[in-house]
């Protein structure tokens, strides 16, 4: 969309706000409900209608619960080109909806695909975009007023207060930064079918195949993660962590130092550029607790740090600590757990 078109769209009155809701064949997760709740709140503050954009197979099923989240209208976007995830075809659809309706804002979830699709929309429309917002304070519904917002930097270790100025504001919401609250009164959702104009099959990049994962306890969902850093000292040093994780039905994690040294594969890495986890218990062995590691494990319900340094950040920020050499401490823990398991 060119500059002229955008101004026309923005000038149409901008009486609506849209949320692009992710779903898996009709099922909407927690993060999608957080988005709708915030969309409803912001739309109410602005006095505009709250509309959802739902793309791909199952979109119709997804909207069933939307009334409870204050959605006035849902745009169901279906097309043969949208049958499997295709970031550019998804974005073309959203850009066409923007051109047709001139919303004051389009919100999406700050998930990997939410950020990706909205960035494609931003590229197509020439509009600015703010990723991973944690607070949103809208301006007037006029269309050209700036909004103030807060967004995550450094994976959440740092916040940025920013101004977003655009005829249509594009922003994504950081997962779990907003409450998934239902609207006070559940209303009816008007369902509108939207058929985008999309090019021939060959022009869109899409998912062509899916490989299921190997099974086993995944790092992201394990109830206990036993993690090691520089202090573990070698690939072999992780044997003891494997044993403890095995006894507790958990997974093994690591810091970037362990990955960079080739001791562990990157799929085990916890942190900003690794996996973010929220287990019941995180046992960090020989990890100092740099911010980029901390943002990956801070959501654990409990953190137990094992470290020679009582002042290490992960020790002082964790709930529990054992001070000392992990190579002496871990074998003793493994023995004790084994003993209790066999006598139990």
């Amino acid at each position: 969309m060119g500059e002229g078109e955008r101004q026309r769209a923005g000038g149409r009155g901008s009486m609506l706000l849209c949320c692009v809701v992710e779903h898996d064949r009709g099922s909407v997760g927690e993060v999608g409900l957080e988005l709708l709740s915030t969309g409803h709140r912001v739309a109410s503050e602005l006095g505009v209608t709250h509309e959802a954009i739902v793309i791909g197979p199952g979109a119709g099923d997804a909207v069933e619960r939307f009334g409870a989240y204050g959605v006035d209208r849902a745009h169901i976007v279906e097309h043969a080109q949208l049958d499997s995830y295709a970031p550019d075809a998804y974005a073309d659809s959203v850009a066409q909806l923007i051109a047709a309706h001139g919303p004051v804002a389009v919100l999406a979830s700050g998930t990997e695909k939410g950020n990706e699709v909205l960035a494609h929309v931003a590229a197509r429309t020439g509009l600015p975009m703010a990723a991973n917002c944690t607070e949103v304070t809208p301006g007037d519904a006029g269309g050209d007023d700036a909004w103030t917002l807060t967004r995550m930097r450094w994976g959440g270790s740092l916040l940025e207060d920013a101004r977003l100025e655009a005829s249509t504001k594009l922003l994504t919401l950081a997962p779990h930064a907003f409450e998934p609250a239902q609207a006070a009164e559940a209303g009816d959702v008007e369902v509108a079918a939207f058929e985008p104009q999309l090019d021939e099959a060959t022009s869109y990049t899409r998912v062509v195949a899916h490989e299921p994962s190997g099974g086993g306890v995944s790092l992201a969902s394990a109830p206990v993660v036993v993690s090691g850093g520089r202090g573990v000292g070698s690939a072999d040093g992780f044997d003891m962590l494997e044993q403890l994780a095995g006894l507790l039905g958990g997974a093994v994690g690591c810091s970037r130092v362990a990955t960079n040294n080739g001791w562990r594969s990157h799929s085990d890495q916890v942190g900003q550029t690794g996996t973010k986890i929220a287990p019941q218990l995180y046992i960090a062995c020989g990890i100092s607790g740099a911010t980029q590691h901390w943002v990956g494990c801070k959501d654990a319900k409990n953190i137990l740090a094992i470290n020679t340094d009582p002042e290490a950040p992960l020790v002082t920020r964790g709930n529990y600590a054992v001070v000392g050499n992990l190579h002496e401490i871990l074998p003793a823990i493994v023995d004790e757990v084994r003993r209790r398991k066999t006598t139990a």
Binding site: Y85, D88, N115, E116, H120, A123, P128, M129, A131, N132, R153, W154, G155, S157, L158, L159, E160, D161, R163, L164, E165, T205, V207, V208, A209, H210, E211, P212, S213, V224, L248, H266, S267, Q269, Q272, T273, G274, Q280, L281, S288, A290, T291, Q292, W294, N302, P310, V315, R317, G318, N319, Y320, A321, V322, V323, G324, I329, A332, I333, R340, K341
Partner: protein, 255 residues
């Protein structure tokens, strides 16, 4: 096979990110700098591709004059050519960044270097805009997929790329020329050898001074997130603490 990689210079903070008094920047007086980890994997991949298929690799960074250090870091890893888009700030907002990078690539292309593949990191660690690569690719008319942890060439001149999702991997196919935004885990970047570091020292880095284009996202200030203070319970010192740890595991119901 000509590959271009876009990299960003970022500080490497430790346990806490301190800010300057005006709250506009990170206080980097006591910090080292590096390139973004995702970008570093992109550099490694470019070097491997050119080693295997021939052609040349180019690295490009927009940043302060000091970003020359990261451009040379990439050259020391084996990249052939370096381009620095020098600005008088730490960075620019994402639209202005993307416009300047697009323009520089267009200039390089008009001089005869066409790129089969343009690589980006998935997101910059400091700004986390999640968009510069996508904006540049769109402006250049290249298809792009983000979040990629595997790239392989397929017959007929395309690439098949892998993206990790909750329950496995998704595969996409792109025809070249194309762009890809990659994530750490794509490969294990090499540590530059002495020879590479010598070459990087002597290499000539081409410099452009772009004009800042418009953009609608303006930083007002940076601030620390609120953090709940936790009391740390020290369960003990050394192996004797094993009993207390096992008690805790039972208490938490994870044993």
């Amino acid at each position: 096979m000509n590959v271009l990689v876009c990299i960003k210079r970022v500080p490497a903070p430790g346990a806490r990110i301190n800010l300057t008094d005006d709250e506009q920047h990170i206080d980097t007086r006591h910090l080292g700098f590096t390139m973004s980890p995702h970008d570093e994997c992109a550099v490694e991949e470019a070097v491997r591709m050119v080693t295997e298929h021939g052609g040349s690799s180019t690295v490009l960074s927009l940043g302060p004059p000091e970003a020359d250090e990261q451009v040379r870091q990439a050259i020391s890893m084996g990249v052939d050519h370096g381009v620095l888009l020098e600005i008088d700030d730490i960075d620019w907002e994402p639209q202005a960044t993307a416009s300047a990078i697009t323009e520089a690539i267009t200039t390089l292309t008009s001089e005869g270097t066409t790129f089969d593949l343009v690589l980006f990191g998935n997101e910059s660690p400091d700004a986390g805009n999640y968009q510069v690569g996508i904006r540049v690719a769109y402006a250049l008319g290249l298809p792009i997929v983000s979040g990629i942890k595997g790239i392989e060439f397929v017959d007929g001149g395309g690439v098949r790329v892998r993206r990790q999702v909750d329950d496995g991997f998704e595969l996409y196919e792109l025809t070249l020329p194309a762009a890809v935004a990659v994530k750490e885990g794509l490969n294990l970047p090499r540590y530059p050898a002495i020879k590479g570091r010598m070459r990087a020292k002597k290499a000539s880095v081409r410099t452009f001074t772009p004009d800042a284009g418009p953009g609608g996202l303006r930083k007002l200030r940076l601030r620390q997130p609120r953090e709940q203070k936790t009391e740390t319970t020290v369960l003990g010192h050394g192996p004797e603490a094993a009993t207390a740890v096992a008690d805790l595991l039972e208490e938490l119901g994870v044993m």
